[in-house]
Structures are given as C-alpha cells and as structure tokens.
Amino acid sequence: MNLFLEALNHPVDAFRSKNKAAAWSLVALTILINAVFEPLLAWFTGSWHSGPDIFSVLRIALWGCASYLAICAVFWFFCRCFGSRTPLKTYLQKWGLTFFPNLLCSIAVAFSENFFTVFWNNSIWGILLSIAFVGILIWKTILYIVFLREVAGLKGGRMLGSFVVIGIMIAVLAALNGYVGLKTPVL
C-alpha cells in the first residue's frame, strides 16, 4: 500500500525507488477497466450493446499491453536522441508509476459514456466532470515532466525538446489507441 501512496503523493521518490510491482499493477488495472469494466457497464445500462465477449476483451487487453510497450520504446528512443543514457528496462519498470490519472480517467470515461444523458447540458455535473477530466490531464502532464527529469535525467533545453517531440508521439499514439478501441489511452 505504501508503494501506491508513494507513487500517488511523492512521484519523485517513487521514481527513485524500485517498485515495479506497483507500476505494473496500475497499468494492468487500467487495461482491465478498459477491457472488462467499461463493456460490462455498457451492458448493464441496457443500451444497444451486447454483452462483452472474450475475444473483444482479449483483443483490447493485448492492444493495451502493446500500447504500453510502444510508449516505453518511444521514451527510450527519443530520450536517447536527446542524450539520456537510461536503458529501456528502466522505462518499462517506471512509466507505470504515472498511471493513477489513467486509472481515474478510465473510470470517469466509462461513466460519462454510459450515463451521458445525465451529464449532457447539466451545469453541476458538467463542472464536476470538467474538473475531473482537465485535472487528470494536468496531473498526467506534471508526472510526464517529473518522469523526464528524474528517470530520463534530462534538463533544460534537452528536456523541453524531448517534451515536445514525445508529446507529439503521445498524441499520435492516443489517436491510434482510440482507433483500436481503447477509450482511455494506455500511455
């Protein structure tokens, strides 16, 4: 539990210590919510969706894993171009520590998609959800910057350069995630 609290409240310390168990369980939970919880919720709300079948669950889970591997490879490649010496293994073990916002986002997206009639044109729910979504986006950006500084070890202009280039790659990968059916990007 302490490992999770550290990743939640003190990301700098979490990046410095070894806790790949926490990192990978956060990624796995995000993928599970995308692949299992969201289709189940859609099914229970009684919309036109049929129940989740095992093939779509497996397909989405595999795409989630592939997306995580892809973003780590992107980090490794571009940070290397900008002068970082961190090996690929470290990115694989530590990027998962930034997945708290993704986890929250996947839950929020599941509810906002399936109960959109409640939230649409409603100012109170609208404010609450926009606080949640924009907050999650800012939180992930902060973790992204801390990650580049602490794990990739980049500073100043090099960090700014890698921030922009990897940011573009993240946008591209997020679009691909949406295309293959991952409603919350596993990035």
């Binding site: 906002s112 998609e113 959109f116 649409w120 609208g126 606080i131 924009v134 907050g135 939180w139 801390v146």
Partner: protein
C-alpha cells in the same frame, strides 16, 4: 603478530581526523548548506511535484468554474465531447 596489529592501529588512528578537525569540517558543511538557495523554478518544481494531484485539481477547479461562468453548459459539453469520449 599481535604487535604488528597494534602498529597498524596506531597508523590508522594517526590517519583519522582529530576532534578539532571534525568540528571544522562540520562547520564548513553547515555553512555551505546555509549558502545553498534553491532557485525559484526549483522551489516551484518541488512544490508541484509533491502531491501533484493537489495542484492539478486546484487549477482545474479554477478553470472549470471560470469557463462555465463565461460559456455555461456549452463549455462543459465541449469538455465532455473532447475528453469524455462523447459525441
């Protein structure tokens, strides 16, 4: 053999700093610490990187309240459409 060991201890002890020297070293380190002032950017980074969700949701609350006051539900619907996967 025992004598040899004793001789080494003497040598070792002679190489260690005396009490006065230790005090001097401590005073030096402390004065260096006092001189170190983190830059404003570093202070800001430290403030934000501890409990990052606090800063994120604080800023987000400000923007949500302000923008909803200005544009009403048009704004919240737009956020839902872009970030919430609707539309």
């Amino acid at each position: 053999m025992k004598k040899d060991k004793g001789a080494y201890t003497v040598l070792n002890n002679a190489a260690l700093p005396t009490k006065q020297q230790k005090e001097k070293m401590l005073a030096h380190i402390l004065s260096e610490c006092r001189n170190y002032k983190p830059s404003p950017a570093e202070k800001l980074f430290r403030l934000i990187s501890v409990y990052p969700w606090r800063f994120a949701f604080g800023l987000s609350t400000v923007q949500a309240v302000l923008c909803t006051m200005i544009w009403g539900t048009g704004y919240t619907n737009m956020v839902l459409r872009i970030l919430g996967g609707l539309g």
